[in-house]
């Protein structure tokens, strides 16, 4: 799975730390999600969707390996 969280974050001018605080996780977790090292839970994905005001499908995409 790949994601465009970094782009969405840039659109809202949020740092990793800002976004982490908004959804109640650590900055390292945001970093790992952005680097595709960690796939977040549905709850976290929906929290991100709320922050970006977009459906989850817009910033999380399945890849061929999935």
């Amino acid at each position: 799975m790949k994601n465009t969280i970094k782009v969405e974050r840039a659109i809202l001018s949020l740092t990793q730390d800002d976004l982490a605080k908004k959804i109640g996780v650590s900055r390292q977790t945001i970093n790992s999600i952005e680097a595709n090292r960690y796939v977040p839970s549905t709850v976290l994905a929906l929290k991100l969707s709320e922050v970006f005001n977009k459906p989850v499908n817009d910033f999380f995409k399945l890849t061929v390996e999935d």
Partner: protein, 148 residues
């Protein structure tokens, strides 16, 4: 209470058990206990009459200290740290089982090579196995956290 609510109650109880974590401060208490255990291991020779008893207490304190460190919540606890902790427990369990199976033969072989005749074959003790598993779990947890 009907069957459905009984199952729900049981599930809720199991979830509470799974989610159980000690407060962050217990990390420090655990570290203090581990230090106390090391002190007991070093001073036991000063009291030859009660050396065995001190050793036994030291071992228990050491295991309790490691358990406190292992069970305590992180400062920044989130779903990723929970996932990493679960991974580290799984790794520690698998390595622990392999260690328990292989190590007695290694010890037996080494003791036979070093001293001719060597020692008799003996299984691992609970302290050796538990402390090894805790150390592997903590080591992997902090390594995984560093590389996340």
């Amino acid at each position: 209470m009907n069957k459905k609510s009984l199952i729900e109650c049981e599930r809720h109880r199991i979830q509470k058990l799974i989610d159980f974590r000690l407060p962050t401060v217990f990390k420090w208490w655990g570290a203090i206990l581990v230090v106390i255990a090391f002190v007991l291991f070093f001073v036991r020779n000063q009291f030859p009459d009660s050396a065995e008893m001190i050793r036994g207490i030291g071992r228990k304190v050491f295991i309790i200290g490691l358990l406190c460190i292992s069970l305590s919540r992180d400062k920044e606890e989130d779903e990723m740290t929970i996932a990493l902790r679960a991974q580290s427990y799984a790794i520690a369990f698998i390595i622990g089982v392999l260690y328990a199976l292989i190590m007695p033969y290694v010890e037996f072989g080494v003791s036979n090579v070093v001293h001719s005749g060597g020692e008799a074959y003996k299984d691992l003790g609970d302290f050796q196995l538990l402390s090894f598993m805790f150390l592997i779990q903590l080591g992997f947890y902090y390594t995984l956290k560093r590389f996340r």
